[in-house]
Amino acid sequence: MTSRRLAAVASLALCGAVLEPLVRDPDDDGFPLSTYPMFAAPRSAEVTLAHAQGATRDGRVRPLSPAQLDTGEVMQAFTTLQRAVAAGPEARAALCAAIAGRVAGDAALGDVAEIRIVSATHDAIGFVARGAPALREAVLVRCDVARGPR
């Protein structure tokens, strides 16, 4: 084959591969050949999401960062939480313990005594536009933050 033919084959193969997701189920995402389903599908504004909270001994709730889930990415933290919650009580307890271990080593969260993984249902539009509180909330699992003697 001449090099022009090789170039044509490479061009057709790569362009064809990138356009192939158009004939795939839009929810069947891949990498790096994506169907780009994010932000495309219509969704209900009422959503139930799991998140992790820290609680102090006097009951105050302290927000946790994705770093407590061993990531700098909010979306990876979100996925890790949802998958652990969906996997059942054992996976939830394991994740709770892992978060508690990281919080125990974080001086900025020194007053946090307990970790809770919470499932909360929100009206997302109400929350973003007016700061509306959760419609429903349930603690799925809780675990203590064990700190050594200081």
Binding site: T2, S3, R4, L6, A7, A8, A10, S11, L14, C15, V18, L19, P21, L22, P26, D29, G30, F31, P32, L33, S34, T35, Y36, P37, F39, A40, A41, P42, R43, A45, V47, L49, A52, L64, S65, P66, Q68, T71, G72, E73, V74, Q76, A77, F78, T79, T80, L81, Q82, R83, A84, A87, A91, A94, A120, H122, A124, I125, F127, V128, A129
Partner: protein, 313 residues
């Protein structure tokens, strides 16, 4: 059946026109500039992602949700192996950027990047921010992108072997940029239909994305609250976003049309930052759009400034 030969002739002429356009010559420096910009971006991105990669490598095996090439794995790799592959990929990307040993280092760099970023996306969250840079590195690895501005290559040296030129590879990179936006636009029509244009799906997406960030300790976007409260503006933004995505093939016309489309797509990404705090650094830094312009001028400009600064001091 008398029309068939005439139709065949038209098809052949159309194919020849497409081939002439696709293989129209472009300077070797343009493709080299793309190699340098894309390679440097990929290397810097990989360095920045190393801690994140080490983090996902420690996730429980039950959370592995293999995508793409990672489908060959039945279990996660040891974290040390994941990091070692990533570090080797960074070294290969540096050689790729310099054009050193290109015929060997470029395919290996592309393979390493594809593997490492697919691994990062194999834990339930596919990072769409990284698709295009992987595709561009793969395309460059198939192309004679080290015929100019490459380590160990003298100025004015002719291309190695009989070539198809450099224009086709520049067009290929431009087509890949264009195709990814087109697919994203068509996905909106496939999943939401024309309902996507009334702004309601975008409003809900912005709200859910910001809710997630607020609950998980991330920063919310500055324009999320005012825009969610004013759906009419979101209808206009939905139409604009879809027009930019579906209009991506216009970028292949080159010249002013390509530059205008690229700026519109860049503005679209700025809008995504302001409404969802979702960052797509590859297009935001303009590296994704360099195949649409005379990239050699954009890449040579900082080098000229640097040389001038050195000679002035």
């Amino acid at each position: 059946m008398r029309g068939a030969p005439r139709a065949d002739g038209r098809a052949v002429r159309a194919m020849a026109r497409v081939a002439r356009w696709w293989f129209a010559p472009a300077p070797a420096e343009r493709l080299a500039a793309l190699r340098i910009a894309v390679g440097a971006y990929a290397a810097i991105w990989m360095v920045a992602q190393l801690p994140e990669l080490a983090g996902v490598a420690r996730l429980p095996a039950s959370q592995l949700a293999a995508v793409g090439v990672i489908g060959v794995l039945h279990a996660p790799l040891p974290p040390a192996v994941v990091v070692a592959i990533a570090v080797a990929t960074i070294a290969l990307l540096l050689a790729f950027t310099a054009g050193a040993g290109y015929r060997v280092t470029a395919p290996l760099a592309a393979l390493g990047l594809l593997w490492t970023l697919s691994y990062r996306s194999s834990w339930g969250m596919v990072f769409h921010t990284e698709n295009l840079v992987v595709l561009h590195v793969i395309a460059l690895a198939c192309a004679p992108a080290a015929d100019a501005w490459a380590l160990g290559r003298g100025a004015g040296e002719p291309p190695r072997g009989p070539g198809a030129g450099h224009g086709w590879a520049v067009k290929l990179l431009a087509a890949l940029t264009s195709a990814t936006y087109l697919v994203a636009g068509i996905a909106k029509l496939r999943l939401a239909g024309l309902h996507w244009l009334d702004g309601d799906p975008l409003r809900t997406q912005i709200a859910i994305d910001n809710l997630r960030k607020a609950l998980l300790g991330g920063a919310t976007a500055p324009l999320a609250a005012p825009l969610v409260a004013h759906p009419a503006i979101l209808a206009a933004l939905s139409i604009a976003a879809l027009a930019i995505e579906l209009g991506a093939p216009l970028a292949l016309l080159g010249g002013r049309a390509a530059r205008r489309w690229a700026w519109a797509a860049w503005a679209f990404h700025v809008g995504v930052v302001l409404t969802m705090n979702v960052w797509f650094p590859y297009p935001l830094t303009w590296v994704a759009f360099l195949p649409l312009i005379e990239a050699e001028r954009a890449v040579a400009w900082p080098a000229r400034r640097w040389r001038r600064a050195i000679s002035a001091s």
